[in-house]
Symmetry: D2
Subunit: 484 residues, 4 copies
């Protein structure tokens, strides 16, 4: 049965029973538990947008495998146009949820594995590509949500997978049978894991020949035997969990993606869902393609968030009577400027996309890294400017309980009012929205999601074509270049 | 009785009974209520340091009024040396609490009112200076904690105090009697208010002749009739209130200063504690002196916090095995560089201090504004660098409940471990400390405490001596300057 | 006769006789005068690239007016593909000349006037579009170089054109006859003017109904009666003029575009070359379209320059033995990162291009402004990083005369040597190239070419759709939006 | 005879005959040669200021060796007050010359050698300190200008002095006799060398035991046998050399310090002027002390330059009619803010000064490095902002010859005019001043003078006391610290 609507999606999640812990206890129903429900609602937006006339063209695609109309989040990009539509879709979703809607991870994983599986088969005569397409058609037809599972714990980071004192610090195959493989280890920071249907496991780094057991790509359901998830804490999670409406800032949709640890405690995966198994030579390519797709996305979804933040601050300055001050306009201009700079990179990395041998399209990898690198700077700066304009009350505002209190509610209303005619509560709501979107977890995700800043710099240097640039300089300086 | 020790301070707070609301309910004992106790402990550090050999010289001073040894926080600066010792004291306190210890506000208020009261008397023949000294000797002898109360709600910021539709948006005198004045209004963001003994009220802006009722400086006890305080929310306050030990990050001392709204609902202040009453001409000077002292301090206390953050991140990179990577050293170098740049400004603004006619010393006002302006940039950048180096687990770490859980505790320990030999719990503790010190409230305070960024820029431009600089340029360019 | 080759271009310039002053004297032949020849050679590269197999596809286009293969620099963009090819062409030209090759100005002017002339005709029933196409076919067929002449002197910038005490501070029509118009005024900073064939005059700002005489768009040859050009000074121009080979840094191609003042001293322009004449309503649109095209270009050509600079510095660190230091790699990474961020914007602004009613394509205006704004920051930062890595000898290196001196040449060679085996002269040449590309004029052009920074900010704010963004925020904060 | 006045100084320079090359030819008289005269005039300001009532207190000091009133530039700092007065003196000199006045290098060298020579003697029983004091009394009494000669060519920077293929890439002793030493090598970037009287040679880096011959500190006259100087090129030097008055921008005083290479071609130095001779253990300390003093100075002299630049731009915006625009004020505010931030560091590094065992005072080394590091960033940013506000005419302005031309002078005057009543020539003069102070050499000096940026970062990291900071963090996070 295909998931079409938000309701379908909720129902589908109720039908499965993954092992999820949070604050030391099991979460039985992610659709209703206050800690996970907001994240479920964010992800649900990816389903509901496909049913909206205004966004159907962005939110759906035609499967090149079946010809069916499918969610774009299950599609393999077939053109530059696909890549650009994705970027526009992500910005809209960021604008509508003000947060992470989680399905990009699986989306990018699908696109990376698809193109690499093809290349492995071409080189080694394996059968991974057909297996993967079969699995993917299923995902497309049912419209399942997939969590792309890449980031390993890594233990002592000065050592590689095979050098760790605990060999499980990277997910690995502990047993191979005729029917499949048994895997052990964990994946951290798993966005959307607790409300996904399927996990697509990938290695976290390029591996050498000594690390064959770590070169595993495979898919499994979130409620497979031996899978345990532990849902992480976030800034302000208590307000969310206590169902506070105003103080949580953005009550309908959560902050970031609702990340979890996924532990694989000797989990069996059948052969037909194994897509790489020991081919270490291709791990670098796989990791890099996933990373490039994912990094390209950040300039789109985060721009959507910054649009919200810019709007929130603009409104707040109207409420506070400062909207016409020249320094206010100057700072809002800067917020827009930085947001659009990020968006540029996402558009450009798509516009410069190229076809892999499988037919699946890749983004420009240099520009994707540049895009994400700027996210790690500009999202912080945009947040800083928002806090500058919002004012100190973001840090000192009394609680919603005080606002509702018979004893002091009238004082809160009186002394947090702004220009005449706008209810104090609107000022408070916008203040809390800004608080929620500028502090802690929200920004950390922009820093480390899709790879930490240094990961991008390594790639930018590597792809910088310095020899070619040296030659340009030598020619202009009149230095012989025949040495090259 | 003089408050000498932490215990004395605690006892003194138990003896008074201010009206404090938090989450809609009264707080009866700030020393034990989980929301306020950590802030009380931070403030207590200002008392206990005076009893430590290593810091006594910084933490105490000799009163020029009585010759007694007093807390430096009740002292009127008598020299450049005093100003520099204050800076060193504040950095140490920042290092030891990792947060705001609140007593600077009253300290700076005392120094501002002292010098201005003198000047009013000199010009107008009033008697404010004697009144103030009398009150101050009392504060010094009892070693009371004073909250400097300046920031008004301001309502519609495009209008001045007298133009507001609600005249109470700035604290004002609503009645004058032979014995004293009755004041109404509120002060926002009042650092340390709930655990202070005395309030020193000041206007928030330079006032013109039409705003005489707003030109009020006076002192009153925190439990005076008609005073109500509402304690504000902070990022992560629930973790603090639930007495979580690890997840709160810095359980002993709170975040920022524990700010409150102070409402004055027709509060009577006797004449002998009124220090300015309608002399609008001096309000600009008063506000600016307070602001300059306070802005100068931020380069000291925040440097203390950044020292902690730099240490936390350094240790975390050791735990994670990344401490020797060149980009890690580079970023830690930048954190130190920015911290010390701030500290420079604080030292310089003291070194360039000058005697007012009263004998009380002022800091250099240009450099004080420059100092605070940089705090609004560099604290964010230092936090950003800390989050870069700390890694994504800051945003996704499971809770302490999971760490302690029988079901999943072993998984948390296994998969959040770092280099061999260091307990996972240390990594988690440091991670939570970094989380607490880099998100939300902690940074907002650096932005807006002691005046929002634009307030500093206005002063920097005003004090920039452009005419003098234009003359320098003209001379070098060979342009006649006799016009000036 | 169509100009096909560099030689054709040189010959064509010798045939005309514009009035050009430089250092108080007439320049008779721009192709051989040392001050102008390097700029002529840069512009010539736009011709010669069209004859190269590797770049023909970028450097030429098929005229939609005639079906002929033409220089892309005379083409009206007919598609997004055209816009993207232009960007790639500009980067290549920047890489090959290390400077401005000048033809973009006319190129962008052609595209702006084409689309606006069409719209004027549609609205007012005028005949400008046909006139313009006729003129343009001529330009295309002869492959002429056109200087787009926009920037007026502006006199007192606090006043508009009609308020100036000298009405000639903006180019204006001083007389209208049946056959044409007579114009007076000047255009500043005219890139490539002295080696162009034709001038395309446009207003510099949106005009209101009181400024009809300033609303003039027309074309005229550079040697028309009454046209006088004064060629500007540049940093290091003496080295260029004295034909120094090493010390000029980039002897073959000049720095920036070789800008000139063009004075129109009552110049007659016949009716068939007048394309706007008093239609003030369309001037805003015209200026903005030209500006958007031109701003979009800066992310391409300057990236080409930064590629050269990155290569130069990379080579220099090899020569000096520092190439493997981690901070060197870090800074080169940053240079690449900033360059590619700029390039992203140029690509994106093209990828988001759209068809005007005339069929001519416009770039995305928001992204074009964002692009140029970043140029005004990043080019300086890239230059700063280059100077950081290059070392202090950029500022203190003895002259080429010393290098060649019998007395001290051996000392220069000995004491400016680097790693063994690389001639000292190579180090010096690269050092001089970096000097030439990072100081003075070279950077000023990035700041102010295509409009000063504030011009972009005004547009970014204006196009920021704040009302839409406010609505997004209100929805997420639970604030009613029906007011909008 | 003591040099008292500018005239004395000029005369003293005419009396000596150092070997100086420039552009392949000997300079016979530095006081009149157009290339060197402006730099001589800058240095002369250090003499003339001592004769001015307003500045005598800053510009002179009382020798602790003789009790005589001496130039502060020959003084050994005896107190924090001395260190602070020096900073104020340097800012004034920067304001009055708009450039480098060169005498700091010798000043700082004197202070470094004085304190280290004392410590060597204390430890090793040598007699360097007495020798040095004898030499210094002579310098003080005659008021000689000393060039501190530190920076060696370094050849292949991946290798140390003793590993170079050419052993002369660092100055070294090639022969030791009973009477003295013979040295060979060169020093680069020697500020003020050509118009100094005496050279004080120091090693450029900390040396190990294998590099004894490189551990040489000694003094010699600039015209000693075997000394050759080659004067370097600068941006815009031709305009200076051709005695252009307007276009050189700052005709009276040059740009930067007038740097030269000093070559020592087997120069004999008598024993009594040798102050370190093989004591490699003390070279690190010597280099670091010199560097710290010198880095501390940059926040003072460059602030003086930025004061000029801020004034120049402010005036230019008045001329152009833009002075009241909000973005103009904003940018000028930022220029002041950055300048004063630098100044803060210089003041602070002095205020935190400390007495060495010799009694000579050192600045705070951490803050000195922080200060210089910020110079390498902020001077560029201040220049960038100046160019932003100045406008594009900085890059395209016709020459002074055109301004004076009968043919086109009236056009230049007409079309470069600003607000009514201010002569165009004033706009041009200010424009040229800004051009001279923001491009090329002027900025490179801020980058590399007193050590390249990375040199400061190494020291900032080294002095960052990370272990202490880690302990602070552990205490707050509740982690046991007994391990340390």
């Amino acid at each position: 049965m295909k998931i079409e609507t938000t309701a379908d999606y909720m129902e589908s999640l109720k039908k499965i029973d993954p092992v999820i812990y949070y604050r030391g206890e099991r979460i039985k129903d992610v659709t209703s538990h206050p800690a996970t429900a907001p994240h479920v609602r964010s992800a649900a937006m990816t389903y509901s947008l496909a049913n909206t006339d205004a966004y159907r063209d962005l939110a759906t695609a035609t499967s090149h495998l079946t010809g069916n109309v499918i969610s774009r989040f299950t599609h393999v990009h077939q053109s530059v146009e696909d890549l650009i539509k994705k970027i526009k879709l992500l910005r809209v979703l960021g604008q509508k949820t003000g947060t992470c809607y989680q399905r990009c991870v699986g989306f990018d994983a699908i696109n990376a594995v698809y193109t690499v599986a093809y290349e492995i088969d071409q080189k080694l005569g394996t059968n991974y590509f057909e297996r993967f397409k079969k699995w993917l058609v299923d995902i497309q037809n049912q419209n399942l949500m997939v969590v792309g599972a890449m980031t390993d714990p890594k233990g002592d980071r000065s050592k590689g997978p095979a050098q760790q004192s605990d060999p499980d610090q990277y997910v690995r195959v502990v047993k191979r049978t005729r029917d499949g493989v048994v895997i052990r280890g964990a994946k951290l920071h798993m966005t959307g894991a607790v409300n996904s249907h399927e996990i697509l496991v990938m290695p976290t780094t390029a591996l050498d020949g000594q690390s064959k057991d770590y070169a595993i790509v495979c898919a499994l359901p979130v409620d497979a035997d031996g899978v345990t998830m532990i849902f992480g804490r976030q800034a302000g999670d208590d307000r969310r969990d206590k169902l506070e409406r105003i103080d949580v800032g953005k009550p309908r949709f959560g902050a970031v993606g609702g990340e979890a640890v996924i532990v694989f405690d000797d989990v069996f995966v059948p052969q037909e869902k194994v897509f790489v198994n020991g081919e270490t030579d291709f791990t670098g390519s796989l990791v890099y393609r996933f990373a490039a797709h994912h990094r390209a996305n950040y300039g789109a979804c985060k721009t959507g968030l910054m649009d919200v933040l810019t709007g929130a601050v603009s409104y707040l300055t109207q409420v506070q009577g400062t909207a016409r001050a020249s320094h206010v306009k100057e700072k809002i201009t800067e917020m827009i400027h930085l947001s659009e700079t990020l968006y540029s990179s996402s558009i450009a990395t798509s516009a410069e996309g190229w076809a892999t041998p499988s037919g699946g399209y890749m983004v420009d990898t240099m520009l994707a890294n540049v895009c994400k690198q700027n996210v790690t700077r500009f999202h912080f700066e945009v947040a800083r400017l928002a806090l500058d304009l919002a004012g100190g009350f973001i840090a000192t505002l009394p609680s919603e309980y005080d606002l509702r209190s018979e004893d002091v509610g009238h004082l809160v209303k009186k002394y947090f009012s702004g220009v005449e005619g706008i209810p104090t509560e609107e000022r408070i709501r916008i203040g809390r929205l800004i608080e929620a979107m500028t502090g802690g977890t929200a920004l950390v995700e922009s820093m480390h999601g899709a790879g930490s800043p240094q990961a991008q710099r390594v790639m930018i240097f590597r792809e910088g074509e310095l020899e070619k640039k040296i030659k340009l300089a030598k020619v202009l300086a009149g230095i012989p270049t025949n040495k090259e």
